[in-house]
Amino acid sequence: MRYHFHIAEDGRLVEDDEGQDFLDQNQVRNEAIEACISIAKDAFTKGSARRVEIDVRRESISVLKVVISLTIEE
């Protein structure tokens, strides 16, 4: 099964035209979580975004969405 991982950082979209093959949805979930964490780490520490979203699609249908957002209370 081919999955596409579209990324949005504060609404700025990075489309995944190539996609990747995965055997089961658990792997897809883990991959999406891990990618979201590392992209969020870079974006949050650089200050380029406060919300990172990965929308995983199979044949254009959304199967999973991972969202990480940053809140700072001072």
């Binding site: 990747q20 590392s38 992209i39 870079d42 520490t45």
Partner: protein
Amino acid sequence: MTRLRVLSALDGADVDAMQSLPVMVRHYRANQPIVREGDRPRECCVLVDGFCVRAKTTSDGRRQILSIHIAGDIPDLQSLHLHVMDHDLVTLTECTLGFISHVALREFTRRRPSVAEALWRDTLVDAAIFREWIVNVGQRSGLNRLTHLVMELRERLRVVGRVGGPEFELPLTQEQLGEAMGITSIHVNRILKQLYNLGVLKFQRGRITILDEAKFNEVADFDLLYLHLDPEL
């Protein structure tokens, strides 16, 4: 040979003598193990052509690429003294490798101390590169990590005459680039798009094109020193 000669200032007689060592040439297809963790190799190999990687895989199947090797490298020199492999050596592309038996190499280095020194220096440079990779994986952002890696490969490929102009070969998939940097291929894809949009570089079908040298230098945060390319320094 060019690489050892450039990087360690061997003299002509040493080079001639090295060329007389018995070498067994073997060809490998892409993505094939050359030696695996736990193996007890009886020979060392010189990469004549192609690309290979050293890698370790965790018990839950996650692979970390430890180093990328290019023509002229001797990627398993350590097996001469550390007899059991503690990592894998795997081809990325089709590779031509020259194998020299440990017995012959050991005997040779005893006869020619300057060659032993050159090989020692080679493993020290190897370690310097590993140190830089720890910094890369531990401290740099994804964007800096990738550009740093690309810059390292370009400078090493330049030594063996494999860089002409703004383009050069970097035959890794996005997944393999991710394995070398400790990030997912999804993140690699995002970084590559960003680097293209910023006008820094383009990565397509295993080839890098530098679009703007000044921007590339700025993002890569690169200091050539750790490659120790000049033995006279």
